[in-house]
């Protein structure tokens, strides 16, 4: 089942003659349980692609479908509800609320969505425990290491029944061991059925993906498909 479908997405900022075409006719489909990495240089449009996929920004034209619902047909409130329930975001700088504990940060999206406090906290504890942070639930962000803060951000993104995880340079300034840990967590979420899109310029992070999509100047120019690619590119046949 496709969790995310983006069809012929364009995004234009500004007006002629100064308009900037951030995206031009991008198609992207992500199935449940799959991890797709989007790679491209700065200014290639990869972050814009992510904010449009997550309905944080509207495309100039084209259609975004999340869990079978076309975002363009939804009211503002319906879109906000879909964002809270189905979509989780992980940002480069974590974006945790400093005045809230790890547990409060993680359960906040559920509470905002009307889930009772007890149930929301329970789901929050489960998400934190899945990421090895059960002991740190009552700590505040400034009491956590960079790696722990990022894990809290991932817990917040997958808490409850989220089906789509969107991550923009999710390893941020973390070292390579923590970067790998982050990708393992995202893969674990995919094994539970979450569809994930990770935007990165880091080839090692991208290599955790089932598929890597390359974007240049607002267009998808290429992608890796399966492992058999390597054999066929070398002119060999897979044994």
């Amino acid at each position: 089942m496709n969790v995310l479908e983006m069809r012929q997405i364009t995004k234009v900022y500004g007006t002629a003659p100064n308009e900037v075409h951030a995206l031009s006719g991008v198609d992207l489909t992500v199935e449940a349980g799959h991890l797709v990495a989007v790679m491209g240089p700065s200014g290639s449009g990869k972050s814009t692609l992510l904010t449009i996929a997550g309905s944080l920004e509207e495309p100039t034209s084209g259609e975004v479908v999340v869990n079978g619902q076309s975002l363009g047909t939804l009211s503002r409130n319906q879109r906000a509800a879909l964002r809270r329930r189905a979509i989780g975001y992980v940002f480069q700088d974590f974006n945790l609320l400093p005045g809230l504990s790890a547990l409060e940060n993680v359960s906040l999206p559920l509470e905002l969505d009307g889930v009772g406090l007890r149930r929301a906290r329970e789901a929050g504890r489960t998400a934190l425990a899945n990421l090895g942070l059960a002991e740190r639930a009552d700590h505040f962000p400034d009491q956590l290491s960079g790696g722990e803060r990022q894990r809290v951000a991932i817990a917040r993104a997958v808490v409850g029944d989220r089906t789509l995880l969107l991550a923009d340079e999710p390893s941020g300034a973390l070292d390579s061991a923590n970067g790998e840990a982050v990708m393992r967590l995202i893969r674990d979420a995919c094994r539970r059925g979450v569809a994930a899109v990770v935007v990165t310029h880091d080839a090692q992070l991208a290599s955790w993906a089932d598929r890597v999509v390359f974007i240049r100047d607002g267009r998808v120019v290429d992608q890796t498909t399966s492992a058999s690619d390597v054999e066929s590119m070398l002119g060999r046949h897979p044994s």
Binding site: P41, R184, Q204, A206, S207, D229, V230, M233
Partner: protein
Amino acid sequence: MSVRHALLALLSDGAKYGLQLRNEFEARTGEVWPLNVGQVYQTLARLERDGLVAVDDAGAEGPQRLYRMTRAGRRELEEWLVTPPDLSAPPRDELVMKVLVATEIDGVDVRAMIQTHRRYLISVMQQWTKVKEDESALDLHLALAVDAELFRLEALVRWLDAAEGRLKRSKPTRRASEARPAGREREPQR
């Protein structure tokens, strides 16, 4: 990879047979560097000649020969471990060559060519990453070998990214052969 020193390292915890050394070598390098048994015996013969390993039962043959490391072998191994490999000269990297050559040939879409190589490198990296995905089945040697390979391939991807950026910034018609400073048309005298 120095097979010679790898074999000495394997002998550091006791005497071993040739076949056993081959199997341990492959296991410890995560089977990233396959080694044929003939190569093992050839290397052992050289090590024996140089006095770095010894066989107690001189009459034993082939697979029956039990090798142990000598004191000189131990010293050789210890010295090898702390001697940096010579990385001062750049390797003759085929990928680098291809990109350099492509910039000299009219009608070649260098950007598209770079993307083909980038896609290939990332596909290979995806395969290596799959190897280390199951952490419970990952032994330390395999993890270290896979990491080394991933960092090596990543460096090539980063070089391609940098090359693409550099080509974009440079004038499209400018070629190495045309880029000599004025007045330097002749080869400098030696």
